[in-house]
């Protein structure tokens, strides 16, 4: 579903998530860089100390015949291994578990980002060639002995010649604390990020909902506008700037629609009105000629046709005028107590013969009495139209069912008849003016305006005319609504 709110929230979420991830990553990388830099500096410092101690040791002859053990108490502990250029072990840190460093003939400083330290710990350090005083000048020691050397020694021993020789020094320190610190930082960043995203999404939902409230109000107001309330206008005062063009545009659209509807109503009423005199001319001409026939039979037949045409046109004109008045709200509704059941029975008598000729099975389910307060003329038109249509359009050997109930102030009148040529799509058009299923409009007896008039009258009476197709394909026309038993106490509504 295309939703502005969802898009806004997703955009905010995406932006914020990107910012948080990027920012957290930057903070992490920066912090890691700083920490490792400081660590490396610490290792470098330890290296310098180591070289100093080693030099002293060598000059004192501590390495003769064996490896020098260097005791260096640092925090974090520093692991050292030194070799001669040829790979002969020269010195190591004096830990109970010595580091398993392997000789590598390094020719330049090389960072060891990850080093395996004793007891399964991880470290970080360097392996580098370093200059040291000549090892062969060292005073001899007993073979296999190890000389412990502690830091704090001075310069070369008296008598040494002091010629520097290159050794390979590998030094590494435990990165456990750094790693722990970085992990803690990761957890904090992730936790804060997730919480912030959740909070921002919640806030974004609330903020966008509130921000879009004027849009919803606009939509609510638009949904209440129909053909009868085209004079309604959307507010243009106190409306957010972004919605002002929409309100103004909608108001202009409503004004155009209103003018269009009024033009159509006037046109319909004017056309119907203007047609009345010509129809009266046709009708009078043919009725007078038929009443006092003077011409040959063929001419008289023409006059009869003329009369039929004029009567049909009169029906259309009257229907159009009635619809126009109902739509304009000027149709007079004179309510009085009407015995609806009797009205239905009497109206049906006019169509009974037509139905009988087609062998249509007719069922009338009417109460003994059913009194409602309504306009008798308008109700008569509706009932007459529905029954006439049923009798006319039910195919031979079909069925017609008429039901009436008026319980609890409600009125429910249904005419159900079998049909052969209607489908669900047709239902939407049944009440349109001049709509006929037969696109060729072959029948000249029906103009397709009866149901439009019935629908307009139904609405004027406060009722609804609803078509439906039953599961058996039968068409049901239902007239229903609230119908009080007696007219208002103030008298008939006019």
């Amino acid at each position: 579903m295309n939703s502005i709110k969802r898009r806004l929230v997703l955009a905010l979420f995406g932006s914020l998530a990107t910012l948080l991830v990027g920012g957290s990553l930057a903070v992490y990388v920066f912090t890691r860089t700083i920490l490792l830099r400081d660590f490396d500096a610490m290792v470098r410092a330890a290296e310098r100390d180591t070289l100093s101690i080693l030099m002293q040791a060598v000059l004192e002859g501590a390495g003769e015949g064996g490896e020098i053990l260097l005791e260096m108490r640092r925090d974090p502990p520093v692991y050292i291994r030194a070799w001669t250029k040829e790979g002969k072990a020269l010195a190591r840190s004096a830990f109970p578990h010595p580091p398993e460093f392997q000789f590598v003939p390094a020719t330049e400083d090389r960072l060891l980002a990850s080093v395996e330290l004793p007891l399964g710990r991880s470290g970080r350090g360097w392996i580098a060639p370093r200059p040291l005083f000549a090892v062969r000048d060292r005073p001899p020691m007993e073979s296999g002995s190890v000389k412990h050397v502690r830091p704090g020694g001075g310069g070369p021993a008296p008598g040494s010649q002091g010629r520097p020789e290159e050794i390979i020094l590998m030094i590494a320190a435990d990165t456990g604390e750094v790693t722990l610190a970085l992990r803690r930082l990761q957890m904090v960043l992730v936790t804060v990020g997730v919480v912030m995203i959740a909070v921002v999404i919640a806030i974004a939902n609330v903020v966008t909902s509130r921000g879009l409230a004027p849009v919803r109000q606009l939509a609510d107001q638009a949904s209440r506008i129909d053909a009868k309330t085209l004079d309604a206008r959307f507010p243009t005062q106190g409306v957010p700037l972004e919605l002002l063009p929409i309100s103004q545009g909608l108001n202009e659209l409503l004004a155009r629609l209103q003018r269009g509807f009024e033009r159509e109503r006037r046109f319909t009423a004017d056309v119907a009105h203007e047609l009345r005199t010509p129809i009266a001319e046709l009708r009078s001409l043919s009725e007078v000629a038929l009443k006092w026939p003077e011409a040959d039979p063929a001419t008289m037949a023409s006059f009869r046709d003329t009369l039929d045409i004029s009567l049909q046109m009169q029906g259309i004109v009257n229907g159009l005028l009635a619809i126009a008045r109902c739509e304009a709200g000027t149709q007079v509704v004179a309510r009085e107590t009407v015995e609806a059941a009797g009205l239905v029975r009497k109206t049906w008598e006019q169509h009974q013969q037509n139905a009988a000729q087609k062998h249509i099975a007719c069922t009338l389910d009417l109460p003994e009495t059913c009194s409602i307060a309504t306009d008798p003329g308008m109700l008569q038109v509706i009932v007459g139209n529905l029954l006439a249509n049923a009798a006319e359009y039910t195919p031979p050997n079909g069925m017609i069912r008429v039901n009436l109930s008026g319980n609890g102030g409600g009125f429910d009148f249904r005419v159900t008849n079998s049909v052969t040529n209607l489908n669900q799509e047709d239902l939407a058009h049944l009440k349109e003016r001049f709509w006929r299923k037969d696109a060729a409009r072959s029948s000249s007896e029906h103009s397709g305006i009866g149901l439009s008039v019935s629908d307009a009258f139904a609405q004027a009476l406060g009722m609804r005319l609803e078509p439906a197709l039953g599961p058996d394909g039968a068409l049901e026309m239902r007239l229903c609504g609230q119908a009080p038993k007696s007219p208002p106490a103030t008298g008939p509504a006019i």
């Binding site: 001319e281 009078s284 001409l285 006019i494």
Partner: protein, 216 residues
């Protein structure tokens, strides 16, 4: 009976004039409101059939001005059918209101009813001794025996019957039974009365020498 038809539609005016004459009425017709008012004020009509949408003077104005001078019955014939239109017409003095298009038979029935009312006669039957006239069916019997009358003869009898007991002058008969086609000095009225008496075969029409006739 003499009718004035004020209707601006030529075709409708022709049809109605023909039909009303066929029905036995004398009809004067005009297409113009001002001319119609002049004719109504200048002559005594039994009924005026008046359209509302007229040239030079609309029907309601004609009615208003007519009512200052005369109380001739007026039947409004118009396409305007709303309640306010009807109320306005009736309040200005019209006696009846018929909306176009209409059934000619209905127009005839309303014309007959209004013409009866012109003579304070509300029922469709007139009885004068052995003579009985059914105004709706336009049939007359004398002592129970139907009398065959031509349309003009019946109109004469009906006019005399509606004014039963009153002196009806030859001029009045000319004006109400005969249209403009009658020569001013002809004895058509006397001839018609003579023929009527023969057909009725009952002495219901009395002559007032030099004055006119009385039925009853």
């Amino acid at each position: 009976m003499r009718l004035l038809l004020i209707e601006d539609s030529k075709r409708l005016s022709r049809s109605l004039t023909r039909g009303l004459r066929k029905a036995g009425y004398c009809v004067d017709a005009t297409l113009d409101g001002a001319e119609g008012l002049w004719m109504a004020e200048s002559n005594d009509y039994d009924l005026i059939i008046l359209d509302l949408m007229l040239p030079s003077m609309d029907g309601l104005t004609v009615l208003q001005r007519l009512r200052k001078e005369k109380q001739t019955h007026v039947l409004i014939l118009t396409a305007k059918d709303t309640v306010p239109d009807r109320v306005q017409g009736l309040e200005l003095g019209a006696d009846d209101y018929l909306v176009k298009p209409f059934a000619f038979e209905e127009l005839l029935a309303r014309v007959r009813a209004l013409c009866r009312r012109s003579y304070q006669h509300k029922t469709p039957r007139v009885v004068a001794g052995p003579l009985e006239i059914d105004l709706d069916r336009k049939a007359a019997t004398c002592n129970g025996v139907p009398v065959e009358l031509s349309p003009r003869e019946y109109m004469l009898l009906e006019y005399l019957a509606l004014r039963r007991g009153q002196l009806v002058t030859r001029t009045e008969i000319e004006q109400h039974i005969y249209d403009d086609q009658v020569e001013p000095m002809s004895n058509v009225v006397d001839s018609a009365v003579c023929v009527l008496r023969k057909k009725l075969a009952c002495p219901v029409i009395q002559t007032r020498r030099g004055l006119g006739y009385v039925l009853g």
